[in-house]
Every structure is written in structure tokens, then in C-alpha cells.
């Protein structure tokens, strides 16, 4: 059986399982990191926690967006809901991606006022970007800034991995960020295949990206729990 057929015949089961797994993993990571933030009030950890919870919410809306998309007879009747789901998914996952980078660079920005400005600009920027992406039906508007963000995040975590030689957790966190970058490149490819009516390649890349995202969160959860046994 073609992977495309298998996915389209069982998509609701696959996506439900995927959503449940991602929500559980996000909650587990968040519940640990937020305890460290409560203990320390260290802001970069707050943004790391926020990023995880925004990812979880983004995937929650993704499920409903896919539900409307794959039950096409509903698309016309509940168009406003579809727009809301698609917009929420794009906005929340974009902001989550940004907050990972922000958590990595935050300590280098010393002035508190600058953080307020950066946060406001980022929220506005990704809000408008997601809106533009929905209006123009061009998801590249969202994907390209995210790929740029993750290229920066990969280079920062790579430097940290080199600095902390022989440290398993630093290496695995680098892998988490790298998988995020691959994930966004994969989603870009999947979208290109979708708009060029190449359903077979779209389904293949889409499923691979689901597996990769799941793997990314499993590693993220593993390193968080390994490092934070006392919390």
C-alpha cells in the first residue's frame, strides 16, 4: 500500500495519536522547566517553557486545521473556523520558534526596556506574518523567517556544544534545535508539493516530518528530565 493511501485512509487516527503524544510530551517538558523558572526567576528558562507550551497549542490547532482541510465538504461551511485554526497554528508555532532563539540570546541583552521592545515587535511581526500568509495563501511567508531563526539557533547551540565538550545534554539539545530546523525545511517542502498537486510526495514528507517532530520532543523530554532530577 502506498504511504499516501495509508495516510489518507487513517489520517484521523494518525493525527490524533500524534497530537496526543505531542501534547503529553510538551506538558511534561513544560512542567519541569516551569519549576526551574519558579525556583530561579531566570528569564531565559521562562521563554524556553513558553516556547514548549506554544508548540503544544500550535499542534492542537493544527489538528483542527487538518480536520477541516481533510473533510473538504466542511471547508466552505466553516471557512471562518478554518481560517482561525490555520492562523492560530501558524502564529503560535512561529512564536514558539522565535522564543527558542530568544531564550538562547536573552542573557546577552542587558537592558530590560529592550526586552519589552523585542517581545512586542516579535509578537506583532509574527501576527502580521501569519495573517499575510493566510490572506495570500502562501505559507512561505511564515516558513522563511522560521528557517532563518533556526539557522541562528543551530549555530548558537553548536557553539555551546563545542564549548561543553563531551557533554551529552548539550549535544542532544543541539540535535533538538537541528531537528527543528530540518522540520521547518521539511514543512516548506511539503507545502511546495501540496500546491504543486504532488500528493504522493506531500504525504511522504508530511509523515516523515511528523515522525521527526515526535523524535525531537522525545529527545527534548529526555534531556530535560535527565538534567532536572531534583525538580
Amino acid at each position: 500500500m502506498y504511504i499516501e493511501e495509508f495516510y489518507f485512509n487513517n489520517w484521523i487516527l494518525i493525527e490524533s495519536f500524534f497530537l496526543l503524544a505531542i501534547l503529553i510530551l510538551c506538558y511534561m517538558i513544560f512542567s519541569k522547566t516551569i519549576k526551574v523558572y519558579v525556583f530561579s526567576s531566570y528569564k531565559p528558562i521562562k521563554y524556553l517553557s513558553l516556547s514548549v507550551i506554544l508548540y503544544g497549542l500550535g499542534f492542537f490547532f493544527r489538528f483542527f486545521r487538518l480536520f477541516v482541510e481533510n473533510t473538504s465538504y466542511l471547508t466552505n461551511t466553516i471557512q471562518p473556523l478554518y481560517i482561525l485554526f490555520a492562523f492560530s497554528e501558524q502564529f503560535l508555532t512561529s512564536l514558539a520558534g522565535f522564543y527558542i532563539l530568544y531564550a538562547l540570546i536573552r542573557r546577552k541583552i542587558t537592558k530590560e526596556e529592550n526586552h519589552i521592545i523585542i517581545n512586542t515587535i516579535a509578537i506583532l511581526f509574527f501576527f502580521l506574518l501569519s495573517l499575510a500568509s493566510i490572506i495570500t495563501k502562501n505559507r512561505l511567508i511564515n516558513f522563511i523567517p522560521l528557517i532563518t531563526i533556526f539557522i541562528s539557533a543551530v549555530s548558537i547551540t553548536y557553539k555551546n556544544k563545542i564549548k561543553n565538550k563531551n557533554n551529552n545534554i548539550s549535544s542532544l539539545f543541539f540535535v533538538v534545535v537541528l531537528l527543528n530546523l530540518i522540520g521547518w525545511i521539511g514543512h516548506t517542502l511539503a507545502w511546495i508539493f501540496l500546491v504543486s498537486n504532488n500528493d504522493y510526495l506531500y504525504a511522504q514528507v508530511f509523515i516523515i516530518m511528523d515522525i521527526l517532530t515526535f523524535g525531537m520532543f522525545v529527545i527534548f523530554r529526555y534531556i530535560t528530565y535527565k538534567n532536572l532530577k531534583k525538580f
Binding site: 525556583f39 524556553l48 539539545f173 538534567n227
Partner: protein, 89 residues
């Protein structure tokens, strides 16, 4: 007033000194912690209130000792520092 993270560093230092000395006089701890007296008093009061440190009296002298909660704080603080370094935060 110091920020919370800096405050954590000070609390950690005080607890480490008490742990290393096992039982310590306030004047000795003040000297070791290298803090002005009024600030030191605020911290030690906080540690006593949060029950991380015990105050005992022996021959009219006050001694501080670390307890389970204090040890737990030290362990958590070490993990927090490690987490920051490992994740590059």
C-alpha cells in the same frame, strides 16, 4: 535589592559556608559570606524563616546548622546552574 537570581547566588554561598563549617557562629558566617551586616541579617532571617537553616544555642552562643531543606536547595541550585550551561541559556 538584588535581583532574584543574584539573591539565589548569595543564598547558595551562605548555605555552602554553613555546610562546610557544619556548625557556625553568626560572626564567622558574616565574615565568610562577605556581606554588609544588615544584608546578611536579611538573608539569614530568610533562611531561618524558610527553614533551610537551624539556629541552636550553646552556652549563650548562637550557632547555625544546615538542614534537609538547605541541602535540597543546594542540590536544586547546582542542577539549575548545570541546566543553564548545558542548554546554553
Amino acid at each position: 535589592m538584588a535581583k532574584k537570581r543574584e539573591r539565589l547566588d548569595v543564598i547558595f554561598d551562605i548555605l555552602i559556608h554553613i555546610r562546610n563549617e557544619k556548625s557556625v557562629l553568626p560572626t564567622r558566617l558574616l565574615h565568610l559570606s562577605n556581606l554588609p551586616h544588615n544584608i546578611f541579617k536579611t538573608y539569614i532571617d530568610e533562611l531561618l524563616n524558610k527553614q533551610m537553616v537551624n539556629e541552636t544555642k550553646d552556652k549563650n552562643k548562637v550557632f547555625y546548622t544546615i538542614n534537609e531543606k538547605g541541602y535540597a536547595f543546594i542540590e536544586k541550585y547546582k542542577e539549575f546552574i548545570e541546566f543553564r550551561q548545558n542548554f546554553g541559556l
